[in-house]
Point group: C2
Chain length 192, copies 2
């Protein structure tokens, strides 16, 4: 446990303003919204924005962290409701749909998954969710030996980079199917 960061009052207020402004901007304009506009809308200089969020991708990540968390929380529920492989497929499809809905989110994800810095919480969260789906029961695993959640997450990240855009839902579905077969290995996948 290293010392939890304590923000100065004004800093905290500005962070909130920035997140609100960014959320609004992304919702209306999409991820093309310029960093300068967001800062202006929040009544803050760009420098302030960058002190808090070292890159645009990390700002995007912060804005959508809640929704990603919700997505992750849904994993155990799915695992309890559906047969293991179906649960996994459903979750991955939800994930891709989410990435597709938020433009530019895929690039943010790449940073989060690639970066070795502080932002590993989100990555860990996602990996944990996937792990739940891979091993629904005690010691039971849907996955072939040697397949771990981190790698599946990376593969999913790759898919969202290639296929999380408007007219590519069907491609995404096929790539997820491919990945799914790669995970389980046996013939027990059952078509979509």
């Amino acid at each position: 446990m290293r010392p939890r960061r304590v923000l100065r009052a004004d800093a905290q207020r500005n962070e909130d303003l920035l997140l609100k402004a960014a959320a609004a901007a992304f919702a209306s304009v999409g991820a093309d919204a310029s960093v300068k506009d967001i800062a202006r809308e929040a009544g803050v200089g760009v420098g302030t924005l960058y002190r808090r969020f070292p890159s645009k991708e990390l700002l995007i990540e912060a804005v959508y962290r809640h929704e990603v968390e919700r997505l992750c929380e849904a994993a155990p529920r799915l695992a309890a409701t559906q047969p293991p492989v179906d649960a996994l497929r459903t979750w991955m499809e939800n994930f891709i749909d989410f990435m597709a809905a938020k433009h530019g989110m895929a690039d943010a994800l790449r940073v989060v998954l690639t970066d070795d810095g502080e932002r590993m919480q989100t990555r860990a969260l996602l990996a944990e969710a996937i792990d739940h789906l891979l091993t629904p029961g005690e010691g039971q695993s849907v996955a072939r030996p040697g397949v771990n959640a981190q790698d599946v997450l990376m593969a999913l990240g790759g898919i969202s980079l290639m296929a999380a855009d408007e007219g590519q839902r069907d491609l995404a579905t096929r790539l997820i199917d491919l990945l799914l077969h790669g995970i389980v290995g046996t013939g027990t996948v059952a078509g979509a």
Copy 2:
């Protein structure tokens, strides 16, 4: 067949100069080499560069097209030399190594694979190479039914976006293995 483009003499000369300058720049500085420097080195304005190569990614693609072609030509040879699955794995690993060697090449590939424009030749070439590896014999296929070369290419593109950087060779290997299992489906993959 629409009229083959015929470049004016000076335009052709400039294109050659640009490709040479770009190749030199990428080789020495990496893909971070600035477009302006390349143009200056070629003795040409940026406007000229952009008339020929509508984006930096497409310039990168053009510079490395030869090498990609060579990579694709190697596919039938591999298919003849090794057992089908090994050939496929080897080729994919060569591909990823290539992408990792040329910094910024992965992003260029994303454009090539995603774009619906003129630059489909390279994509078609790659898909064809993969197709050779997927179906080495007459009517015989390494792949499960429903798995096509285009999709495999996309998946490979995703992998290179996530794992074609310096210290990720092992991740790349694991992701390729995952993909490979997804392609063949049965247990006949045999570890790396």
